[in-house]
Amino acid sequence: MKSFSYERVATAAEAASALGRTKGAKIIAGGTNLLDLMKLGIEAPDHLVDVNGLGLDKIEETAEGGLRIGTLVRNTDMAADARIRADYPLLTRAVLAGASGQLRNKATTGGNLLQRTRCPYFYDTAMPCNKRKPGSGCAALSGASRQLAVIGGSEACIATYPGDMAVAMRALDAAVETVRADGTTRSIPLDQFYHLPGTSPDVENDLAADELITHVTLPAPVGGEQTYTKIRDRASYAFALVSVAVIRHSDGSGRVAFGGMAPKPWRAEEADAAMAKGAEAVTEIAFAGANPTEDNAFKLPLAQRALAKILHGKGE
C-alpha cells in the first residue's frame, strides 16, 4: 500500500470536487473492499476522500412511493429498515446473504455496488489480469475458474461480479443517483450502471472519474413473493456460486435476476416473460449464448435448479 493523503469532507459536492481536483483520488466509505485491495497493491490511490461525514445515511420515501437510500446507509441498517423489510424483503434477504455481521456493519450501499471481483487472478498481482493491468492478459481463461462467469464475459475477462445486494436491486429496477464535480446529477438504471468487460474489463461501471454515488432509488413496491437464494460451498460467509433473486406474482408472472453467473447482476427481461413456463424456460433464455469453462459449467444447471426450487415454492 503506497502512501496517500487523506481528507474528510462534509458534503457530496465537496467530495465530487475533491475527486475532480485531485489526481489519483478515491472515495472511501466503509473501506471493506477498498482497503483489502489497497493492501495487496491492486488499488493504489494517492489520496483518500473520507465521505463518512456526508450525512447520506438516511432512507427517505420518494414522491413516487418508493425509497431513496443514502449511499452511506450501512448494509446492516438497510437490511433492518422496517420499510425495506416489509416492502422490499428481497433486498433485505440479499443483503443478509452477503459477507458477515461485522462487514455489514461497515459496508455501505454505494460501496457495495462498487465492490470488485473476487477472481483469484485479479487478486494475485504476479498474475496477468486485464482488469487489474489492462493488456496483461487473462490467466483465468486457462486457470482456476470454478467461481467465474459463464455468460457476459469476453476473451479479455471472465470475472464475476461478487455481490448480492445489487442482484436484488437489479430485480427491483433500482437506479443509482450520482453527482459530479460540476454539480450535475443523474440517475442511472442499475442495468446501465454496470458495464460488461468486452475489451476493457478495467472499466466496470458508468461512473466518470469525478462522479460520486449519492443514493440508490427503489421504485414503488412491486409486491409479489420475493425470494433470494444464495448457493455456496459453505453455509455462510462466502461468495455465491450462484444466487437467484425472484419476484413472483400470484398470476405466475414475475422477475428474476442472477448473481455469480456474470460480470454484473444478470437479468434478461425477456426471460422474465417466460416465468410462468418454469425454470427451464427462463434459464434457457437468460443464459442463451453462455460460454462456461469446464470448471464452472455446473453453474448453468445449478441456476436452473435454484430457480426451480423457488418457483416450486421451496425457496425458504
Binding site: F4, S5, E7, I28, G31, N52, S100, G101, L103, N105
Partner: protein, 175 residues
C-alpha cells in the same frame, strides 16, 4: 484545502474508556493502531483482509473488522477491545462462559469470537434480522441464529459447538 502532501494525520479516539491521541501514518489500520501503537495485542490479526474475524472489535457499540478500517477514520469514536471487556481478575460474563464451556483451543480467534458473541446477543435483542431469520418481522434467539451470526468468526480449531454453548448460557443469564 486538500493537502495531498501529508501522509500522516492525527486522530483522537476513546479506546476502552481512555482517550487516545495518535499521530499516525494514514495507512495504519485500526487493528494495527491497537496492536502496534497502543500495544493492545488482544485483538488479533488472522488474515488482515476481512476473511476471518479475529480482529473484531466494537466501534460505537457495533462490531467491525478492525483490519478493514483506517485508524484515521475513527476520529471521536469509542472503541472497545477484548481488553476492555474484562481482565483475568474481573472477567466479562461472556469471557467467563468461554472458559466454562471450553469455547476455544489455541486462543487466537478467541478475542474476536468474544467480541462478536457479545454483539450478536445485542443484535438479536435489537431485532436486527439475519440470513436465517424466518419471519423478518419477528427476530428470535435460537441456535441457527447464533450460528449464522457468528459465521464471520472462523475458528480453525473447531470450537464452534462450545462457543454456541457459551453464548446460550450468557443469553439465558441475561434474558
Amino acid at each position: 484545502m486538500t493537502d495531498t502532501t501529508r501522509s500522516r494525520s492525527s486522530v483522537t479516539m476513546t479506546v476502552n474508556g481512555t482517550e487516545q491521541q495518535l499521530d499516525i501514518d494514514n495507512r495504519v489500520t485500526l487493528l494495527d493502531a491497537l496492536r502496534e501503537h497502543l500495544k493492545l495485542t488482544g485483538t488479533k490479526k488472522g488474515c488482515d483482509h476481512g476473511q476471518c474475524g479475529a480482529c473484531t472489535v466494537m466501534v460505537n457499540g457495533r462490531r467491525v473488522n478492525s483490519c478493514l478500517s483506517l485508524a484515521v477514520m475513527h476520529q471521536g469514536d469509542e472503541v472497545t477491545t477484548v481488553e476492555g471487556l474484562g481482565s483475568p481478575e474481573d472477567l466479562h460474563p461472556m469471557q467467563a462462559a468461554f472458559i466454562e464451556h471450553d469455547g476455544y483451543q489455541c486462543g487466537y480467534c478467541t478475542p474476536g469470537q468474544i467480541c462478536s458473541a457479545k454483539s450478536v446477543l445485542e443484535e438479536i435483542r435489537a431485532g436486527i434480522p439475519s440470513h436465517v431469520t424466518r419471519d423478518l418481522a419477528n427476530v428470535v434467539m435460537n441456535d441457527d441464529e447464533l450460528r449464522e451470526r457468528m459465521s464471520g468468526n472462523i475458528c480453525r480449531c473447531g470450537a464452534y459447538a462450545n462457543i454456541l454453548a457459551a453464548m446460550k448460557q450468557v443469553a439465558e443469564e441475561t434474558a
